[in-house]
Symmetry: C2
């Protein structure tokens, strides 16, 4: 997350001033390309940054933010699942900057196409955050913490659970000595289809068309276990949909 | 399926000679751009075609093929789920030509990138089918009916079930008044990621990292019902994976 935000901010012309990490090497790796200061002591962070991004695991946001020495300016976290309130004792101005994308360090994405959901502790914070976010993304919108929790849950279905289905498919092939390459174009096209259509319009397959004979034959192929349970549950969901 | 195969064959320089459909208008629509004959009486099909493609619902392949009047040349079906044997009484030469892709009439795909799995009733049929398939796809491979059944099952996970998860995500957003556009870039990137990585390598999220607190909070958001059951099942599967 830090890698992507630093890259997007730099490309938009903002100055990356300081990078803190528990691990000095990590801080240096991130700071180096931007000629920023690298720190492994959070108390050394200067408080003149316009915005401080806290890009850490959900469970330690509160703790890390609590170590900031009386920041006067905007402090934001980047988590989908955590309320804005976790920062309420940290600064007079705080907020959330949540990019809705799966981000891997070192693999650039076109950040302008990444939806960024923002929330501010007050109008001043929110306007500052909106102006900043607009410089890096074309898809900025306000979203309160309650809605963001639901969005994060939906993202788990669209990303983590979808990938788990890819894995189930890969294992079915693997058992039969087939290569996952057979499914890669299908997976890509399945995601492409809902870029224009709604998932409801895009739904096809035996469950959708009520093809009980194919469903019966598929269930015959699946041994008792989690994969069969998943097949049955998803078939029920599509049939009733 | 017929629309895509006709288009791919035509682009590769093959002549589309005749199109049969129960509905004459459908036959004419498909035949017209290729100056092919359109028929709604299957007994009028001339038997001099090098290959006859049967692109119909699984449940009527046998019946439709049975109406062909003693074809001397290759007859193939295009189904992932149906055995080659369904054609054994139809012609001395028969086979299967199964493109592993989700195909919508009128929406062209780059057929050269579509994996095509072929099977022939004997060496002559198989070689003819391989030579033909190689003119339209760069991803042709032999696959027997048993393996093809498993591939078709895996494709249901990778395509139909994946789309059902998109639908679950869309409904979570809809209930909260959020737009599905928020998830479209994430869905695209999730599919992109496994074009190079294996799904196992690409897996992220609360279940993968054992983040019980986030899982607990997600479960709180979900009312009792199929969606919660799906969340729990997929979380278990990822946790154990």
């Amino acid at each position: 997350m830090a890698w992507h935000i630093a890259r997007a901010m730099d490309m938009a012309g903002h100055k990356i001033a300081q990078v803190y990490s528990r691990d000095l090497k990590d801080a240096q790796d991130l700071a180096h390309p931007y000629l920023a200061d690298a720190l492994d002591d959070i108390r050394m962070l200067k408080d003149d940054a316009e915005v401080t991004f806290i890009c850490v695991s959900d469970s330690v946001i509160k703790e890390v933010a609590g170590h900031l020495l009386q920041p006067k300016n905007l402090v934001v976290h980047t988590s989908g699942a955590i309320s804005i309130d976790v920062l309420k004792d940290v600064s007079p101005y705080y907020g959330v900057f949540y990019p809705v994308q799966t981000l891997s360090a070192g693999k650039p994405v076109n950040f302008f196409e990444v939806p960024v959901c923002i929330e501010g502790s007050n109008n001043v914070a929110e306007q500052q955050l909106k102006a900043l976010a607009d410089t890096v993304s074309n898809q900025v919108q306000y979203l309160d913490s309650e809605k963001r929790r639901h969005l994060h849950l939906a993202a788990v279905f669209a990303n983590n659970f979808t990938n788990a289905l890819y894995q189930e498919a890969a294992e079915i092939l693997e058992i039969q000595g087939m290569n996952f390459n057979l499914l890669r174009p299908l997976i890509k096209e399945t995601a492409e289809k809902v870029q224009r259509l709604s998932p409801r319009e895009a739904q096809t397959g035996p469950a959708r068309r009520g093809d009980h004979e194919t469903i019966r034959k598929h269930l015959e192929l699946l041994p008792e276990g989690h994969r069969k349970a998943l097949y049955q549950l998803l078939t029920d969901i599509i049939s009733k949909g």
